[in-house]
């Protein structure tokens, strides 16, 4: 069966796998094997484990929906990251999020500072008078 993970910034993963395990804080854990009946489930914060042979891959997800139909698993997620283990992937996602927010805060601060300086300098240069 096929797994297809999409996020707002595009497709993240599209491969053939043997089965997937869907786990979320809200619903607990369940596996979707081949020829499962069509199912839709939501993930608030959790992961999708994709298994092919010996290989395991984890997609950690914040806010997402899993849909299975005709042996195609469609995972639509607000934020997602693929990693070798769920801990490392989750850590990565969290650090990326935090860094981004911190950066935004800093930009706002810098912007306000630059704007204040500009105003001061305009006054000083007596421009527009």
């Amino acid at each position: 069966m096929k797994v297809n993970v999409v996020t707002p910034s595009g497709e993240l993963y599209n491969e053939d796998v043997d089965y997937v395990v869907v786990s979320s804080q809200m619903n607990g854990e369940f596996a979707i094997l081949k020829d499962h009946i069509p199912i839709i489930s939501s993930i608030d914060k959790g992961y999708v484990k994709m298994v092919r042979g010996e290989q395991e891959l984890f997609t950690v997800i914040i806010n997402g929906v899993v849909e299975h139909n005709n042996n195609i698993v469609n995972v639509s997620a607000q934020e997602a990251h693929v990693g070798m283990s769920k801990e490392s992937a989750m850590d990565h996602l969290n650090t990326v999020r935090e860094e981004r927010l911190e950066e935004n805060r800093k930009r706002n601060f810098d912007f306000a500072k630059a704007e204040r300086e500009l105003k001061k300098n305009i006054k000083k240069a007596k421009a527009g008078k």
Binding site: P8, G10, S42, F111
Partner: protein, 295 residues
């Protein structure tokens, strides 16, 4: 007539400005390409979400969500999407103008609406006009937009809507039509109107046979999860659209700035040559006059 040196320095200054505007034009052109790609990448998710919501609502009865219910409109929340930086031609001012016209026509006092500005320009506009603000911190619209940047604002207006503080949420933004045309449009983001098909999805063939799905844990929970996600993604899509417009608008503005600068340089060059010729003529007459005096 201005002196040669003055004209020369003006030519140099204009040349430097045109170099900057030319560089900005090229940067915007490449960023526009990226923004267009982001918009394309985002479509599949949106389409899928829409399909799933339709599916759940159609196949299961007794499923509803507060965000699907229309309220009697008393207070409207307006989300204004602008840019962080200027020099983008009429990009920001056209949104503000359209918004002001709308306010003038539909509202009598500033208490009937609140404003949620996105981008620094909208923030200072809203502050200048003394509107009631939903968020006190400016929301960044960076060129490398990410979903997470707008979580805060969507959370804010969704909770405001659910608590009954506002009854309708409308987004004002610049819709990207093509590189030279952008149009200010408004979009009612909340309450979510059912079967509200976008232009893109309308073209998709509607499957008459709906698949029967099993829902885990139940349809209501799924809808509770799906609808906020849908709203967040809709706003994200609108911002992507606006971002593409911003780049396109900046591109055209910078292109015309470069063209104008070049025209100005040509004009100044002409003046410079004339001044140079005049100086030479004066020198020559001086020499000839001097020689005549000696003879």
């Amino acid at each position: 007539m201005a002196s040669m040196r003055e004209i020369k320095s003006r030519i140099n200054a204009t040349k430097k400005t045109s170099q900057i505007t030319k560089a900005m034009h090229m940067v915007s052109a490449s960023k526009l390409k990226k923004a267009e790609k982001l918009m394309r990448d985002y479509q599949p998710l949106m389409y899928r979400l829409q399909e799933m919501i339709d599916n759940v609502l159609e196949t299961s009865e007794d499923v509803s969500h507060p965000m699907l219910v229309k309220h009697e409109v008393e207070v409207t929340c307006y989300v204004i999407v602008s840019s962080d930086r200027g020099l983008a031609g009429p990009y920001n001012s056209s949104v503000f103008k359209a918004f002001k016209a709308h306010i003038k026509e539909h509202h009598n006092s500033n208490e009937e609406f609140i404003v949620a500005p996105i981008g620094h320009k909208a923030m200072s506009f809203a502050k200048r006009e003394n509107y009631t603000l939903l968020n006190d911190k400016p929301i960044n619209v960076r060129d490398d937009i990410q979903f997470i940047d707008f979580r805060e604002i969507t959370d804010l207006f969704m909770t405001a809507f659910l608590s009954g503080q506002v009854d309708k949420v409308v987004v004002y933004y610049n819709h990207f039509i093509n590189t030279i045309t952008q149009q200010v449009e408004s979009f009612d983001i909340l309450p979510v109107t059912q079967n509200d098909t976008d232009d893109e999805t309308e073209e998709e063939p509607q499957s008459t046979l709906k698949d029967i799905y099993a829902y885990e844990p139940n349809p209501q929970e799924i809808i509770n999860h799906l609808v906020p996600m849908y709203v967040e993604n809709t706003l994200y899509g609108i911002i992507l659209d606006a971002k593409a417009s911003e780049h396109a608008s900046r591109m055209t503005a910078m292109k015309s700035a470069t063209d104008n600068a070049e025209e100005l340089i040509q004009d100044l060059q002409l003046h410079y040559n004339r001044a140079r010729q005049a100086a030479i003529t004066i020198e020559l007459t001086d020499i000839i006059g001097g020689a005549n005096a000696v003879n």
